[in-house]
Amino acid sequence: MVNEFTARENRTIAVVMEQTDALIVQRTLRGELNAYNELVQKYQRQVYNLAYRMLTSADDAGDIVQETFIRAYTALGSFRQDASFLTWLYKITSNLCIDHMRSRRAKGALSLEVELEEGREPAADRSTSPEDVVVRGAVGEIVQKAVMNLPDKYRIVVVMRHLRGLSVEEIAEELNLPSGTVKTHLFRGREMLRERLSGVLEMETDGRK
C-alpha cells in the first residue's frame, strides 16, 4: 500500500523532524558525540546526492559528504534553527562543491567564475529518441545522465533550483551573481534538458494518448 500523507500531515512531519534534529544538535553540543552520528545516518544520502549531482563524480561526492559533516560538526554552535538542519547542511555542501569545482579548474583554461558569468556556449549534445529510451533503459537513468551532462554553469543552478528548492534570488546570493544571470542559466539549462529528453517526453506523450 502506498503511504500517502496530506499536505497538513507532511507539514506536521517536517516540524517534528526539525524538532528532533534540534534535540540531537543540543545533545551533540552537550558533548554526546554519538548523537551526531544519528544526523549523519539521517542525512548522508541527501548530502551525497546533492554533491554527486553538482560534481558528477561518485568519488568526489563521497569526499564532500565527509567534509560537509566534519565542517558542520565544527560549526554546530553557529547553527541557527531558523532553517532546517538539512537546509544548513545543503548550504555547506554547495559551498564545498563550488570550492572543489574551482580547484578542479585551477589548471583549466576557463575558471568557474568566468563560465558562471558568461562563458562559452557548450557544444550541443544529441537528444534522445523514443527508441533510445527503450534501448537505453529506465527513464530515471536517462534523466540522470542528461542532468549530469549539462555544462557546469547550467547544472549548478538547475540542481540548486530543482533539488535544493532555492529561489532564483537565493541562488544569486549564494553564487554572488546577478539574478538575471541565474535566470538565464536556469532557463538555458532547462531548455537543453528538454531537448535532450525529447525521446522521454515523446514517449510519455504517446503513452497519454
Binding site: 552520528n37 533539488l163 535566470k183 517526453l201
Partner: protein, 104 residues
C-alpha cells in the same frame, strides 16, 4: 490545429509565437503580472505548438524534480565519526571541552 490560423501570414504567426515563448520560463516561475500571464495563457489555449512547448517545459522540470536518489556505495558514518573523534583527541584530553562544537 493550424498554429498560425489567427495571423495574417505565417511569418507574423512565428514572430508572435516567438515573443510568447520567450516568456514561458517566467510564466513557469510565476514572475509575470496577472495581465501578462493571462495573455500568455490565452495564447497557449489556441496555439498547439506553444502549448506543446509549455507542456514539455513543465514535464522536464517534473522529471528532474522526481529524479530518484542514488545510493552511496558506502556508509560514510564510521569514517566521519572516526575523523571527528581523532580531531578531538589530537588536542589532548585536558582540553577536550575546547574542542566541542563551538557555541556562539
Amino acid at each position: 490545429m493550424d498554429e498560425n490560423r489567427l495571423y495574417e501570414s505565417q511569418e507574423e504567426g512565428y514572430s508572435v509565437c516567438a515573443r510568447y515563448r520567450e516568456r514561458l520560463p517566467d510564466l513557469i516561475e510565476g514572475y509575470l503580472d496577472a495581465m501578462t500571464a493571462e495573455a500568455i495563457r490565452a495564447h497557449l489555449s489556441v496555439c498547439f505548438m506553444c502549448s506543446r512547448v509549455y507542456d514539455e517545459m513543465e514535464r522536464t522540470i517534473k522529471l528532474v524534480e522526481t529524479l530518484p536518489f542514488v545510493d552511496p556505495r558506502v556508509d560514510f558514518g564510521p569514517s566521519i565519526m572516526t575523523a571527528i573523534s581523532r580531531q578531538e583527541n589530537s588536542h589532548g584530553p585536558r582540553q577536550w571541552w575546547k574542542w566541542r562544537p563551538r557555541r556562539e
